[in-house]
Every structure is written in C-alpha cells, then in structure tokens.
Assembly symmetry: C2
Homo-oligomer: 587 residues x 2
C-alpha cells in the first residue's frame, strides 16, 4: 500500500510506504489520523497548511458487500474543526485497487483562480500508481452535469471522477466533493463541511482515477475474509430494511419522511415544528408511486457504487418520463422540502439536481434556504422562489454568496436567531427536541451536527439495535457515545453506514464485518474491538478540535431549542450540559 | 445611585438600589460585571437572554477633566464574547447626573421590526429617574444625520441621544451605538463589537436622556476629589500630546499616520505592507493644512464631550468651506485610507460620514473594504468605488449585508485567507509584525483585536511610559498585561483613555486620577491599586469568554502573519504561543 502525496505548490507527487502505525487504518481512521498528525489545528482551512486527505476503507475494493466508500478529510472550512465525510463511488474502489491507502493533497499554487486535474493511473511497468497534472480550465465555472461527460470523453468511460463544483471555486462554506455514481452522474458526495472549497483552494478541480492493471486489494487471509463477507451479505439480505425489495430498496432513504413525521420529529419550516402537513406528498412512498405513475411501472432502487446489496438510490422522473435527478435522499428531500415548507417533489428534485450541479451539500442548502425564509427573503413553501435562490448560489451573486456560506452564515447575514447549527454545521432531518439522543450526537460529535456520526435514530425511532423512548433523555449519553464510537469504526471499514441496520440486529452480520477486516489486514479483532478502535479515532478528532478552539462550549444545541417548545410534543431540549459533557468525558 | 432595568418584552422599567458589590464599580467595571453576572455565556447575542448594559464611569458627570465617557456592554454579536465599548458624550454625563449606575436593557418584543425610544428624565417629585416609551417608527431605516435633528426637535435641544443606525436594524456584525457630540452630530460611538445590532434586537432605537433637575453625582469627599481633579488637569495641560495646541489638539489622533508609517507599522492594502506611499496626504498634518486652506485660517480641534481638556476632535471641510464631517480619527483615516490604498481625505471623510450615518464602526468598515478589495470586488485605491461599497451597506443589499457582516464575515464570503481579525474583530491601525507588543494585546484581549485594550504603542512607538523596541518580542507579555489591566481600570473611571499619555509620564497625574475616584467613592485606592482592580475586571471578562467557548486557541493572531513577512521590516509575527498564553495565565 502507498501513501500518495500530491503537492499543488508546483504539482509534484511522491509515493511512500505506509508507516507501521497506519497499517490497520482505513477510511475515516486514516483521514482523521493524518489530519491530526499533519495539519496545524489553527491553520486557515483555505491556506497552504491545510491538507485534503482521501482514503478508501479497509475492505473497499474487495468483494465485501456495500463497501465502495471513500473518506475525505481535512480541517473543515465550514466548522473550523476536523472533518471526515464519506461517499460511495467506484472512485473509492479504484483508489483501493491501486493500493493507495491515503491520497494527501498538500500546498496550493501561488496563482489564484487557475485549476488543475490530477490523473492517477496504474503504472504497470513500475508496479505503482503514477500521477499526471493537466489544466482544468475548460471545466471551471460550469455545471458538473455539463462537465462530467466531457471529463469522461477526455479520459475514457472507465475513469472515475472526484471534483468540486462552482461552490468550491467561489469559496463557499457549503461545498462538497462530488464523485461519479454508477450512471456517471456527479451525484455522490462528501457533502458536508466545505471540503469542496478546501479542494478548490488547492487549485485542484478534479482527481481522475483509472485503475486498469492495478493489482487490487491485498488480502492477508482469504478464508477469514470470505467467511466474513458471506455472513455480512446474508445479514443484509435478511434484514427488512436492507434486503432486496426491502424498505430502502423500495422507497429509498426517504422512507423515513412518514416515519419521522409520525414521530413528531421531522423538522419543519426551519425547525419551528416537528410535523409537516405535506409530508406524505414528499415521502418515499410518494416517490415510488410517482415514478410508477410517470413510467407506468414499478421501479426499485439502484446501487450508487459497485457491490452494494442494499441499493437505495432512487431516480425521479419528469412528467414526460425523462430522468429529472438521482438521487432524492431523505435528507435532501427533508431539507429542501419539509424544512422549507415545500411539498412538491418536482421542486425538491430540481433543487437536488442544482445542488449536485453546483457542488453544494443538499442538507446545508435546505437548512440555509429555511433560515433565509425565516428572514423573509422568500416565503416558506414557495418552491419556485426556492429554486431561484439555489440558482443564485450557482451564479455566485452576493445573495448567492450569503446562502453559499451556509446556514449559520446566512443567519448572521440576516440577524436570525433560530439557526439550527452546531459547530457551524446545520442539523439534519431529526429534531433534537423530539429525539433526545440524536441531539446528543449533534451536540457532541466532532463533526458538527451530523446524524451519521451516531445514528441513535435506530433504537429511538426504528427499533433497530433495541428500542428506547425518543422523548426521554435517560441513558442517551451512553447510547450516543456507543453509536459514535462504533460509527467511527464502520466509517473506517469502507462499509456504508446503512449496514448498521442489519448488523445491529443480526450479530453474525457484525461478526462478518469484523472478519472481513481481519481477512484483509491479518488482525484478530473481535466484535467488541469495533467501539474501542472507533473510540481511538474519536479521541484524535476531539483533540484536534480542542486545539482548534472547539471544546465543550461548542458541544451544545442552539439556545432557541432550550426555550422554544416544539410542536407537536411541545418539548424543549432538556438534556443537561453535564450529560452532554459526559459523552466525551467518559469516552 | 440606581440600577435601572428596562425590559423590552413589554416596555416596563424597574429601579433598584445598587448592590453593595457594585458600589465601587463604574464604566467597564460595571458593564462587564453585570454581563458576567447576568448574561448566559452561550445565549444568542440577538436573543432575549442577552442584556445591553450602559454605565457611566466613576467620575463621569463630575468636574473631573475629560471624563464624560459611557461604557456599553453585552455579549457581542461580532465576537461572541464579552464586549465593552466606551464613548465620550454628554449622554454619559446625563446618565451620571441622574445617578444611574447602570442602565440594563433586557428582553425583546415579540413583534419583529418595530422600534421604540426610551425617554429617561428626572422626576423631581419622586426624586428618581423615570422612563417613558415612545414609538420610533418615524426614525427607522434612515440616515442618523437626518434623524438626530428630528429627535432633538421632539425632545428639545437639551436632550442627549444614544441609538443604533440602519446597520443595527439590518442585523450587521458591524454596528455601533451612536451618541451625540457637542455639536449634536451622531458622531461619537461605542463602535466596536456589533452593539448596535444588540440594541436593535431589543426593539430599541434610541435612548433619549434629559437630566434637568437631577441631583448630579454624589461626591463622598470633595476635598480629596478636588485635589485629584486639579492634579490630573495639570498633567493634561502639561504633556506635549494632551496639552492645548499640543499634538492631539492640533493634528487630532491622525497625528499618528506619519508616525506609524515611519515606523513601518501602518497596515496598508489589507495588511500587505507596513508603509503607505500616500500616508502624508491623509496624515493629521494634512488635515490641519487642508482645513487651513479651505477655511483660510488655522483651526484647532474641539471637544467631543463636556469638560475635555485634550480636545482632539477635528472637522473636515469641503472645498467650498462647508462642513463635510467630524471627526476624522486616526483609526478611521487609516482603515478607510491607507488600509484600502486610498490617499484622498475627501474620500475618507465621505466614508466616515456614511459610517456615522448608518451606524457602522469605521475600523471594521475599512478593514472589511480592504478584504473585499483583496477578493477583487473593487480595486485597491479606488475611493469612489469604496464609497459605493459603504453605500451598499447603508442600503442593506445582499452585497451590503456581506460587508456589513464585518471583516471576517466578508473574508468567509469570498474565501479570502488574508483576514486580519482576532476573535472575529478586525485589527486596528497598528501592524503586529512591526509592533510586537500591540499584537499581544490584539491576540489576548477579551475584546478581540483592539488597540484601546492595552495600548503598548505608548512605549513601543511614542516613548510614552518608557521606550522599548517595537520589533522585539522581549518583555512584551508583561507590558501588554500591565497595559490591559490598567486600561480596564481607566475604562472604569470614566476618563478618556487619552489621559494615559499624560498620567503614564507624569506620576502626579496618575495620583490625581486615583484621588478623583477616592473622592467620589470614599475609597482609599493608591496608584498601584489601578492594575489590581483592572485585573479583576479582566478575569471576569476572560471567564465569560471561556464559558462562551473563547479560550486560548482564540488568543492568536491570524495564521498568515506567521508566515508572510511584512515590508519594510520583512518580519513575521514571532511571539510564541506560550508567551501569548502567559498574558492571562499570569494575570
């Protein structure tokens, strides 16, 4: 395996062996360790001393189900703390197949506004990856849907692409890194935390991979690996949420709209209610039915990346049956729908498409629009005007720059006090006042408000991995802590977090995940090691954040949630500070 | 003395006796203690739980020279930490004359966008102040130069006015509280830290004072007071900087332009050089000569507030001899001039006038324009376009909202990395890389970057209170700590900080200041108590900030100053972190 350093000061690269201490790391473990080890916590996120790190998971590139994930990490432009944001894409598998443990982008060109592409291929003769640099000028300032086909034309259909959109070029706090999906769309995202702008600040527009000839992932013990992969695959095929034609494959992640609305925890109109009267119109069921109506047949969802069993990615179609966008995720659907009071799937789909085109995180975009609505920029529920605001972001107008700055930034621009952020990152689609445990994750995660950092929604709402009362704060610190630690491990394996639905309910599935890792690495990890290893990662992330000035005072939900009761349960956020502090205090 | 609480939830007020613990406080000591005691550190600065506190100094309202200062304090909208910002105005004396130790504005109306005036007068019958509330609607959304005369018309020529401009109404991070000067202009400012927006968030547009019939300040020991006042007056009349027709009275604070330029510490074109080729054209000497040319006579400066001996406020005139604006302070002149590469006094004066009209801090405005210039919004040196940008702020356009957000906000909007801020507040007119001690004050002050928090320029540049090498970091932590503590005391006395020039060089002047306080309060403070009492205030401010999440990591100059050498000395900022940490560590 290689550590590949790309230095954008003068566009050179360097390959080195993987240090012993990094050998058993993958994904988030790799990116967070390298950021912790190499990035000065007080550096400017867009300056020459920040580093952007990409790392495939431990089992990424193997035959392990649902494991084509790549982590991107850096000091976040949005939060100012450490950031890891992972995505599923063939790009991840290619990186792994070329045995690149970590791709570290360093430095930045002196000349501003000039962009490059790094083209990474396998050099059969030398038996290692090689990098060439090409000008990206023809691709800058443009819609990624327009640009991706041209990049494929330039590099061939077998390429995989990662890149930033205009959001990154403009310097927005809201800017992700886009990766190709299996349909070559720029639709898979390391969306959160402004990593697109970190990439753009390095003068790097695209990283194009071609792994032809690469040796693939080395597996230390194939028997152990195969046994593990089989167990995990069986668990995924068995669980009601993850199995073929199960919840996710049929309705996509947006299956959660009705569930969260029923629970009174679907943040509506900028977190002023937990229930949206238009929920059914934008729910996963409505997407399924809508597609059936427009295409005249039932369509189950597809995989975002190679080797996925769950296959949760939907496609939305226009009334004439042509593709509108893929994919309308729950978070996007909620952020741009319910949270803006918008109940039209066509409007939501158009905004999702625009976010993908510009390189914007849909969650941050939707919560930003809702804050702008709260400020009176446009009315709640006006889908057409909301589309117009997303287009402003694409144009880089002054208003677009305000909105592109993200939710907290927009709140500051307009003096809004109801701003649902933690550590400057906006909350996703679960209301802390109605689901107390997820609020603990939002408040304490090293990532800023992030549902994927410790998805207590499993036991609190879905009855996965146990069943607890969402409205009670009791026991939730331990619950969140356990989920956060285990998640940090899963994010290191290269598996999609959605395997958690299956492996938390089916112990052999969890064993399978550990055995896959043992097979690849030659380790002897048991199931209980997952949280330990994840805990180590969290401690490093936390230490980075504290050195960057992000400590206990930032482990809090916004003040308004402490005194504004949320309908329909009319509860405030009542988890005491000392409980929040115990999450990392007792890690 | 009274604590007067004005509650804007439902516009009621309450008078209470001054608690024993507050009896010897004044000015900054009063505001910071009340903010520390009563404001939740994690509250939203624009929410109902922040409080805006006004307090006259200990000797304000008496015959003590140069003492008509009022402190305004709150949790800052700009920095997120504690804020005290003081100004000289007859408004301060009126407050003191009505024996109001602290005016605390609490709560906020439910209805947004509706503004009120609080009219505070002396009720002869009851022997205490009274408050009435009147609608401010006719005065909102307008230029303060247009509005102040109307408020005077409504309340009479003997009124004193404090209020916020449109910058506060729009919710800007850059927004001050304006007070009348002796010419009834809205030109004296608690400028820094976004307090105008805190005031506006309470639905409070103006606080109008009339102290007719009020008893005036109670003096415990008139003999001691008189003796002290005499000593201080003598010192002020003697020192070359503060005496009549001395440095400040002749050239105003802008006398520093040439001095700082010569020292290579005048930040130029967004802190990219320490020397400005156009410095002489905007220097205090040029203002004096320019006024002489346009009026045909020499004009010495005037007092901003009653009882000032120093009289440093200038007036700039148009070519036809009519008044353009008052006053062009050094900081404003530098920020809107040298730091933007602008060398036209007419352009600078117009921007100063506009900032006063809109309720903007001139320092923050100028550093913001320079960052926008760095981003390419307009070119450096283009005064007319710079005026246009200030006008955008006055209109509340999206671009105006970006700029109104302040320097760091504008840097984020455009992805600029050379952003000269500490704790989100912009640096004033002294370059840390050329004057190491002032950088320590900027970095460590509880206020964010603030020259008035610990003006080491005295010994480092002016040879006041000693003489040390500005380029050396040696001994500067102790120097800054001492200045910060003594300053916190002076800010509590009600004296203008400019008395420091005299009292640091003339020990009897310092004694005089202490004796004035002893005379008013009946205390027995000696000169060495000043830093002790100031240190207590700093400790409270620091504790508030730490609870608000602003700790050591925020006690740093921006990263670029650590690796970009500054011409002409070509030095970076080389004060080690542990030295910065020792400022409060050893307080």
């Amino acid at each position: 395996m290689w550590i590949l350093r790309v230095n954008m000061n003068d566009r050179i690269y360097r390959l080195s062996e993987v240090p012993e201490a990094y050998k058993n790391l993958g994904g988030r473990g790799t990116t967070s360790t390298i950021v912790y080890d190499e990035v000065p916590p007080l550096c400017h996120p867009l300056g020459p001393n920040n580093k952007l790190v990409f790392a495939p998971g431990i089992v990424t590139g193997t035959a392990a189900s649902t494991s084509a994930r790549v982590s991107a990490g850096a000091k976040s432009w949005l939060t100012g703390g450490i950031k890891e944001s992972n995505a599923g894409s063939s790009w991840a598998s290619y990186l792994a197949n070329m045995r690149i443990k970590a791709l570290i982008v360093e430095g930045q060109p002196k000349e501003k506004g000039k962009y490059w592409m790094a083209h990474i291929t396998w050099d059969d003769g030398a038996g290692k990856p090689k990098v060439s640099f090409l000008p990206a000028d023809p691709y800058t300032g443009k819609d990624l849907y327009e640009v991706f086909p041209k990049v494929y034309e330039q590099f061939g259909a077998r390429a995989a692409i990662a890149g930033c959109g205009v959001a990154g070029e403009y310097g927005y706090g809201n800017s992700g890194i886009a990766y190709n999906d299996l349909g070559k769309r720029p639709s898979r995202y390391s969306g959160r935390g402004g990593l697109g702008t970190v990439m753009a600040s390095k003068g790097l527009k695209f990283i194009v991979l071609e792994s032809k000839g690469a040796p693939g992932v080395a597996i230390a013990n194939k028997e152990v690996f195969d046994r593990g992969a089989k167990k995990l695959t069986e668990a995924l095929r068995e669980h009601a949420i993850t199995k073929p034609k199960g919840g996710l494959n049929t309705y996509g992640t947006a299956v959660l709209i009705n569930i969260m609305n029923e629970a009174g925890g679907l943040p509506t109109r900028n977190f002023s209610s937990g229930r949206f009267e238009g929920a059914a119109k934008i729910a996963g069921e409505a997407i399924f039915e809508g597609v059936k109506n427009r295409l005249g047949k039932e369509v189950y969802n597809h995989a975002c990346s190679p080797g996925c069993i769950i296959q949760c990615s939907n496609t939305w179609y226009k009334p004439d049956g042509t593709e509108h966008t893929s994919c309308v995720e729950y978070e996007s659907d909620w952020a741009l729908g319910a949270n803006c009071g918008i109940d039209s799937l066509d409007d939501v789909a158009e905004m999702v498409r625009l976010c993908n085109a510009y390189g914007l995180d849909t969650i941050e975009a939707g919560t930003t629009l809702a804050v702008a609505m709260e400020a009176g920029v446009i009315p709640f529920g006006d889908g057409k005007k909301a589309i117009g605001l997303v287009q402003e972001m694409g144009k880089g107008t002054p208003l677009g720059r305000i909105l592109g700055g993200g939710t907290e930034f927009t709140g500051r621009a307009f003096g809004v006090t109801r701003v649902p952020t933690v550590k400057r990152q906006s909350m996703p689609a679960y209301e802390p006042r109605a689901v107390k445990g997820i609020g603990i994750t939002y408040a304490t995660s090293t990532m800023g408000a992030d549902h994927t950092a410790g998805y207590t929604i499993g036991p609190e709402i879905l009855g996965v991995g146990g069943k607890v009362d969402p409205l009670s704060p009791e026991g939730k610190a331990a619950l969140s802590r356990g989920f956060q630690a285990t998640t940090a491990f899963i994010d290191s394996t290269g598996h999609c977090l959605f395997i958690a639905f299956a492996i938390l309910d089916i112990p052999s599935g969890f064993e399978g995940m550990m055995e896959e890792c043992n097979g690849v690495l030659g380790t002897n990890w048991a199931s209980e090691d997952a949280a330990k290893i994840g805990g180590e990662i969290l401690r490093k992330e936390r230490a980075f954040n504290e050195a960057a000035g992000i400590g206990k005072a930032e482990d809090r939900v916004p003040e308004f949630m402490k005194f504004e009761p949320l309908p329909p349960h009319n509860q405030v956020y009542d988890v005491p500070d000392k409980v929040l502090d115990s999450v990392y205090g007792e890690l």
